[in-house]
């Protein structure tokens, strides 16, 4: 994985020293809260419902064992013994003290991490496919391109005060595992007819209060123009994005209002101008970055044999592992969604254990997924049972990946100052009602996502079943959506009708799954059946 050079390290170390001084000035009264607020937000420090919250960036979801261990140590040393992995592949700590923050950032900097640009109207952490570099179906590892974009977007002086926040995802397979088309810019690495690798650009996607699927604006951008084209996309947005209205300031609104063709025309015009400057880093830099993402030293004699005589292990292998490009290896997913648990939360001990297991069994590497789970990307099949036993002993062996128990949920009103309703208790009730192995097997792949407000951090628009918490005259109310999907066949969920209370929404989910089971044909997933039979039978069952 990528290793900081002297410039990366100096930038991060300098920022820590700068923020330490800013905190000192705030505590001494030299800075007012109005003056300090943008400074702390630039370093990922929010004020949430109960305390300061620190959001730490995990670039394209990739972590080393040493980094993961420090994340666990921070949870113990400075927080309350746990962390929350987010839908942006980051981690958040919920109980941070302002006076500790400079030391936390220094601890992060020591392992090449930071919290820069995890807030504010700037280009946020670049996200990617959690199986990058390991998946059998990718045409190339997307992470070097994501890293190049990270370097370009970090402290980019022109894009630190955009009309609104800006999120970029990079993938490199037909199977979209990063909700690419629901980002401000989605980049899909592709191969053209000549066999050359390039980037396909999708711009203007997003969730939030106005969900939109990003249209493709360029089929193929050569690698030696990747940054220049990205710059052109951002420049047009920066110039014409709606700064007058926060709720219309995302690029999706600009692309929608201009129309895809006009936005594209303007981008192409700006692109042609930028090509004359030139601003593109030399391809040698991309090649340098690529050396950091070389395959680990796989054992080419590793066996594909797997003893599945332990039924619990066999079930976990079936649900939580994914094909690896290297024979004898597998991608192993750790679900942070035990029945009745809090989606995305892990204790300090669990975090450190996963760090150690990655060191022992996954070439020192882990990934955070947008579904709030953890991945061991390179596990030798011969080690898989030992790995699973260690996970099982730490209550990290929930066998429910992509099933109804693998719920994405934002922190909701239990932690978030923006939320209107609690998400986590609803997730807990659903996982308790549907979490048995038998029920999950019966329902198959069913992605359920819950947001506690219209900002959609829980990706409810993209759930096969989505739930949106709203405030209805001072009480929590939950709307049900059906038919969303964040994959290659991205679609947005549709609201079924009037909302429900906390128990009612769980009953409504049960009725919806009942319609699916009654109408399912062959191997259809819930989503397939919904798309075939439409909303009407579901509404009839839920409200009839």
């Amino acid at each position: 994985m990528y290793k900081y050079d002297q410039y990366d390290q100096q930038m991060v170390d300098t920022r820590v020293a700068e923020f330490r001084d800013q905190v000192r000035r705030r505590l001494s009264g030299e800075l007012t809260e109005d003056q300090f607020r943008p400074l702390r937000l630039q370093n990922g420090l929010y004020l949430q419902l109960h305390a300061y919250m620190l959001r730490v960036a995990v670039p394209y979801g990739t972590l080393s064992s040493a980094q993961m261990k420090v994340l666990g140590d921070i949870a113990d040393k400075y927080d309350r013994g746990y962390g929350h992995f987010t839908t942006r592949q980051n981690i958040q700590y919920n109980w941070i003290k302002l006076e500790d923050t400079p030391d936390i950032l220094a601890d992060l900097a020591a392992v090449e991490m930071h919290a820069i640009q995890t807030s504010g109207n700037c280009i946020r952490n670049i996200s990617s496919d959690q199986y990058a570099g390991a998946a059998a179906d990718e045409i190339v590892d997307p992470r070097p391109y994501a890293e190049l974009l990270r370097q370009w977007s970090s402290f980019h002086p022109e894009f630190l005060v955009l009309p609104r926040k800006f999120k970029i995802a990079v993938i490199a397979s037909e199977t979209d595992r990063a909700a690419m088309r629901l980002h401000d810019i989605g980049i899909k690495m592709v191969k053209n007819a000549a066999g050359e690798i390039g980037a396909q650009f999708y711009v203007g996607g997003g969730m939030g209060r106005t969900p939109m699927i990003g249209p493709m604006i360029r089929e193929f951008v050569p690698l030696d123009q990747l940054i220049t084209y990205s710059e052109a996309c951002l420049r047009v947005y920066n110039r014409y994005g709606r700064r007058d209205n926060k709720y219309k300031a995302r690029i999706k609104i600009l692309v929608h209002e201009l129309g895809k063709d006009e936005y594209t025309r303007q981008v192409e015009e700006e692109f042609a101008h930028l090509l004359t400057l030139p601003i593109e880093p030399p391809l040698a830099e991309l090649e340098r970055i690529k050396t950091h993402f070389a395959d680990p030293a796989f054992d080419t004699s590793a066996t594909d044999d797997l003893d599945l005589s332990d039924p619990d292990f066999a079930l976990w292998v079936k649900t939580n592992t994914h094909a690896h490009k290297q024979p004898g290896y597998v991608i192993a997913n750790v679900s942070l969604k035990p029945v009745g648990g809090i989606p995305g939360d892990a204790s300090a001990d669990q975090i450190r254990l996963m760090a150690q297991l990655a060191k022992d069994y996954s070439f020192d590497e882990l990934r955070v997924t947008h579904a709030q789970n953890i991945v061991f990307p390179h596990v030798k099949k011969a080690d898989l049972y030992t790995l699973w036993q260690a996970l099982d002993a730490a209550e990290l062996s929930a066998a429910n990946l992509d099933s109804i128990g693998d719920i994405i949920a934002c922190p909701g009103l239990d932690y978030c100052s923006l939320a209107n309703a609690r998400s986590i208790p609803v997730a807990q009730k659903i996982s308790e009602r549907f979490g048995s192995a038998e029920k999950q097997a019966e329902l198959g792949e069913l992605k359920l996502k819950i947001s506690g407000c219209i900002n959609a951090c829980g990706h409810h628009h993209a759930g096969h079943i989505g739930i949106l918490g709203v405030d209805k005259k001072g009480t929590e109310n939950y709307q049900l959506l059906l038919g969303g999907c964040e994959g290659a066949d991205t679609s947005l969920g549709q609201i079924t009708g009037p909302g429900f209370d906390e128990n009612g929404i769980v009953d409504a989910v049960e009725k919806a799954t009942g319609v699916y089971l009654a109408n399912k044909e062959g191997d259809e997933r819930f989503l397939d059946t919904y798309r075939r039979i439409g909303m009407a039978p579901f509404k009839e069952a839920i409200y009839g």
Partner: protein
């Protein structure tokens, strides 16, 4: 009644104005009447609190209760982690929050 809440500058902890100082216990909240804005200005300037605001509350036989669920959750802690609330050993603590 009108009560005043904010966050401790150093720790970020949710605090409540008692009439003379700030407390972690919502039950110690004082009715600030129409004085809230003035108290906020004074206390924020002294860096005793930040992000303070006035809310509606009700004095009940069991204590002071913020009107809105968001502030009731702020007053106690996350409903999904009773161990992290201000009353970790009181299983009934959640009853008045939700």
């Amino acid at each position: 009644m009108k009560i005043l809440t904010g966050n401790d500058l150093k720790t970020g902890a949710v605090t409540w104005w008692t009439g003379v100082s700030w407390s972690l216990d919502v039950n110690e909240s004082a009715d600030v009447g129409d004085q809230g804005v003035d108290i906020i200005a004074r206390e924020e300037a002294a860096r005793n609190v930040f992000a303070a605001y006035v809310i509606d509350g009700e004095k009940t036989a069991d204590g002071v209760r913020p009107a809105h669920i968001k502030d009731r959750i702020r007053a106690l802690g996350p409903t999904v982690r009773p161990d992290l609330t201000l009353k970790p050993s009181d299983p009934s603590a959640l009853n008045w929050v939700i």
